[in-house]
């Protein structure tokens, strides 16, 4: 965790303590919802690596979320694997899928990549329904997963245990992601986004970094999909429609492009706003997503995380200024 001062580390520690206390303070259903927030946060960090840091637009990340979810579900349901063992496999499968999709995508810039991933996102539910793999995927019906029990020694409820399980993955993946994005690779990613030709001239292997970013991004999203599937206990093709990809994109934009902490703001938004808006009309959540997307692009292109950063900087300046005077 390079680049953090003592105050920030203390803040993170407080947050972690709060996160550990949370499941004992709220009802089981809320715990379940917050577990999904954690899963979304991982997916958003993954998409943000690709879109925010590396500048490759993906409108089809719901597809990788789906692949991760299905990998976990099939391994648990058909092969009888324990739930915890399926997560790394889901990540690995998605890494390969993302890397392979990233290879042809290398030749595509901006708009064309958006088109190709758009097609992937739209076509995914149909692929999952196809009868040649129905034996594995359960076709339109999908797969029902058994919710894992907490180990007896913990004395936790199923929801609480799953929450801690997800929290552990969040910690692991965010620390790894932090180090990746703040280090040499992360700088190469940003350089490719901003000045591809200059980056190449400086000796960055553009092709390799781009397709690896695609792979790692898919890995994160796939792990999130697997965690989400275990929490929801169900996978079906139509829960992974194109609108899931839009949801993820919305989360990234709201949290803040090219920001790590933004993933949490975005995840809270995409988990809770639809629930609230659903009470107005079935269509309302999407209308709100659309309006919020445009509003953020006009007024706050750096998202909530950027807004917090600016506000903190202003506050610090004001405080600093007054002591000097």
């Amino acid at each position: 965790m390079r680049g953090l001062d003592r105050r920030q580390l203390a803040g993170l520690a407080v947050l972690l303590v709060l996160a550990c206390a949370l499941p004992f303070l709220v009802a089981n259903y809320r715990v379940f919802q917050i577990t999904l927030v954690l899963a979304y946060a991982i997916a958003l960090l993954g998409l943000n690596m690709l879109t925010g840091y590396n500048g490759q637009i993906s409108l089809g990340h719901g597809a990788f979320y789906a692949i991760g979810a299905y990998t976990a579900a099939i391994l648990m349901d058909k092969a009888g694997w324990p739930y915890w063992a399926t997560i790394p496999v889901a990540g690995a499968v998605c890494f390969v899928a993302g890397f392979l999709f990233g290879l042809p995508a290398l030749r595509l810039e901006g708009l064309y990549l958006a088109l190709a991933t758009f097609a992937l996102g739209v076509a995914m539910p149909q692929i999952l329904k196809h009868k040649s793999i129905e034996e594995w995927t359960g076709g339109v019906q999908g797969i029902v997963i058994v919710k894992p029990d907490a180990p007896a020694w913990t004395g936790l409820s199923q929801d609480q245990w799953l929450y801690f399980f997800c929290l552990a993955w969040v910690l692991l993946l965010f620390v790894l992601g932090w180090n990746l994005l703040r280090g040499r690779v992360g700088r190469a990613m940003v350089a490719i986004r901003d000045q591809p030709i200059a980056a190449q001239a400086m000796g960055v292997n553009t092709a390799m970094v781009k397709s690896l970013t695609f792979g790692v991004s898919a890995l994160y999203t796939g792990i999130a999909g697997a965690l989400g599937a275990i929490a929801v206990q169900f996978v079906a093709p139509d829960s992974f429609s194109f609108f899931l990809s839009i949801t993820l994109l919305t989360g990234v934009v709201i949290g803040g492009l090219a920001s790590i902490s933004g993933a949490f703001f975005g995840a809270v938004f995409i988990q809770f706003i639809p629930n609230i808006a659903d009470e107005i009309s079935k269509a309302a959540p999407w209308a709100i997503y659309g309006i919020v997307l445009i509003a953020f692009m006009y007024t706050m292109p750096t998202g909530v995380a950027g807004f917090v950063r600016i506000a903190r900087a202003r506050l610090a300046r004001r405080r600093g200024g007054s002591t000097v005077r």
Partner: protein
């Protein structure tokens, strides 16, 4: 053999729809180098307006004309109000705005008109024309209308001063401004025309796919495939690409299975982008370093 012929012909009919939407996409791409992801949803919304007009008793062709004019105004308004302020932003911001438009049109249509599937009337007689066995009269009629629209557009761009001004504004905005063309308004007009073409495509396809907020999702994807196949900066190519994709979709749907129709579009898109990104008739994209 008969079956194949039948599939090819009805593929041409749906291909005409894809060609129209592809052409609408290409028009906006030529002028701004952007792809309007909301094109399909705007067409869907216009089709709902036509449906509502017909419901209250407006004669079919009047409803048709009012809707196309309304779609034109809508397209101009979207360009002036929503797209204009972010015109010079990075491509990511623009894609996000287009996706937002897609979501907004989709959800507003669902909100106002509900998500139940509605039948949409066809203006053409139910019996096949001229006693032919291969194409329904709606297929022939919609194909004719598509072709007429394409011809009118060609004539507009080729023979009218306004069409010339629009082409100039798309090709060289700076010089056009110097000779007195209002480039901003030409772009808005382009958006209006694209929306009007989309509306016609929506009205023509609605009797076959039925009217619902998600009806254009697949069609937009095929239109993308068609536009890329023909070359995204070539209007003629996009039209041809739309027809090819329509025929391909129908033939593959019959002989391989209709569950993979959308996947076919995905394969076409990625295949074209990887093998020949400029498409069949597009200009090769050259970047100056």
């Amino acid at each position: 053999m008969n079956q194949l012929l039948h599939q090819v012909l009805s593929g041409l009919a749906t291909g005409g729809i894809y060609a129209s939407v592809a052409l609408a996409l290409v028009m906006i791409y030529q002028a701004t180098h952007l792809v309007n992801f909301a094109q399909g949803e705007m067409a869907m919304f216009a089709t709902y307006i036509a449906w509502a007009l017909i419901q209250v008793g407006v004669p079919y062709w009047w409803a048709f004309a009012i809707t196309v004019a309304g779609a034109f105004v809508l397209g101009v308004a979207v360009e002036r109000i929503i797209v204009r302020p972010v015109e010079n932003s990075p491509i990511l911001a623009l894609v996000i705005v287009f996706i937002a438009l897609l979501v907004i049109f989709n959800s507003v249509a669902g909100w106002i008109f509900t998500y139940t599937i509605k039948p949409f009337p066809s203006p053409f007689p139910a019996e096949p024309l001229f006693g032919n066995r291969f194409m329904s009269s709606h297929e022939i009629g919609s194909m004719t209308i598509t072709l007429v629209v394409l011809l009118l557009l060609f004539a507009f761009f080729r023979f009218t001063p306004l069409g010339l001004a629009m082409r100039a504004a798309a090709q060289n905005p700076v010089s056009s401004r110097l000779v007195g063309i209002r480039v901003g308004w030409m772009l808005a007009l382009g958006w209006g025309l694209a929306a009007a073409i989309g509306a016609i495509a929506g009205i023509m396809v609605a009797p076959t796919v039925f009217l619902e907020p998600n009806m254009m999702g697949g069609i937009l994807l095929y239109a993308f495939a068609g536009a890329l196949l023909g070359g995204i900066d070539s209007p003629g190519g996009a039209v041809l690409g739309g027809f090819i994709v329509g025929v391909l979709e129908n033939v593959v749907g019959t002989y391989v299975g209709s569950e993979l129709k959308l996947t076919l579009a995905l394969v076409v898109i990625i295949g074209v982008l990887v093998v020949k990104p400029s498409g069949l008739f597009g200009k090769v994209h050259v970047v100056r370093v």
